[in-house]
Symmetry: C2
Amino acid sequence: MAHLLGGIEAGGTKFVCAVGDEDGNVQARIKFPTTTPEETIAQVFAFFDQYQIEALGIGSFGPIDINPDSATYGYITDTPKLAWKNYNFLGALRDHYQIPFVWTTDVNVAAYGEYKKGAGIGKKNILYVTVGTGVGVGYISHGELYSGRSHPEGGHILMHRVEGDDFAGVCPYHGDCLEGIAAGPAVEKRTGKKGYELTPTDDCWQKEAYYLAQACMTYTLTFSPDIIIFGGGVMKQSQLFPMIRTEFLKLMNDYVRVPDLDQYIVHVALGDDAGITGSLLAAATVLA
Amino acid sequence: MAHLLGGIEAGGTKFVCAVGDEDGNVQARIKFPTTTPEETIAQVFAFFDQYQIEALGIGSFGPIDINPDSATYGYITDTPKLAWKNYNFLGALRDHYQIPFVWTTDVNVAAYGEYKKGAGIGKKNILYVTVGTGVGVGYISHGELYSGRSHPEGGHILMHRVEGDDFAGVCPYHGDCLEGIAAGPAVEKRTGKKGYELTPTDDCWQKEAYYLAQACMTYTLTFSPDIIIFGGGVMKQSQLFPMIRTEFLKLMNDYVRVPDLDQYIVHVALGDDAGITGSLLAAATVLA
């Protein structure tokens, strides 16, 4: 018997809301830009009010508070999107719908979608990295949404700089962290062009591949996932994948054993639907 | 009713074997240098053969194979200590003793000891970092020994180099990874002296604090632990702790919320006994 579930992929630039079933099949969806919390949440309500959903999975941009014991559980915390800073996102939804919720990050639901229906099928430890307007990291550990004290923010790790690259980086918090030198805005600042306007052989991609390979090294040496799945706008540059694998092999220098790299560093299988699919699948985990 | 348990802290330079109870209390112990596998394992047997132990917890140097489905489960894999490379450590013990085993890394048992009886009491997610002849990282996630596909090897992450520091690093695999620029041999190579021969105000410690703070940043943004506990010979330089906290604060730049730093970045409470205590406590988890 199919259940009706809701999913929200709340990104910093756009929201996707969907209703669907516990297998992650979308039955209806809507997409709109992320504006102010009040305006945006009104659109969320207008959509879901049309349906009788039984549970709602929310993958939000962040950082967010995911500690149920915290006074600010369910809040967006220190985002550079100032209108959303300290916004009680989950609280607003809970006041409106008396159903169970799953509250996690946008990248965690994408990781969950890939785990259940995408490139991570059959694996237990799935690292998902989106490289777009920012760099975000979601993780599924032994089949569950990972959290420690809080959720990973692995896009903001500092990087060993490649020789001769003195680009200062664009992260407002950390300058030349991974996001600051490798996300879409960094590509644009380096080259004066959007990523999709560059040729696949532009010099910029070699640096990009080096930094993403180094990130894969760091994630391998910390989380030790079964697979690293890349999504996001920048990763539509498919020439990056073989370059990242080559750089990763050089950097690791055979120190720890990893799977065949064609199976280890891969493109998101569900494409832009990973997040919304995962948010429905996450909602299914709290059905009574 | 007290059980008699065994614990092994198998380090690259020395082995500690102990018998004790399920509260981690050591009743007898022996320590000897790590030589060849044959010689060393004979000493392990000679010690434990005197007792009727019911379970054995092993924390080994590595990298090691901790995947029960792997053909080389229980092996030490790619260590630079060539005599131990591809040695079936757990297999040798299993052939000799027909009891349950816990097989993990030396740093994971130290993390477990600190979780149960040390600085991590009352917390769930404990990151343990040893800085000695190498840099090793153990992790307790939600009260359990963490593993992904394999165990963390977080001492070998690459680092953003501090301005003006062009020290090449001494890691045979990665040159200037964290271990290559911050472990004991790196301190000695930089200064021509052992760490304990330097004054607490030597310039070297400022760089050391910066790299360890950056490592804390990376672990915070990946694992997101409740606490980061430092042990190992280099961390006996207690002047490092306030310096690491100051650098960490600057690097993080308020991006994610962390606990009070005096409670977050701390010294190992069990001192040199963290590993052997943790190996006994780990053994207790597999008692029938």
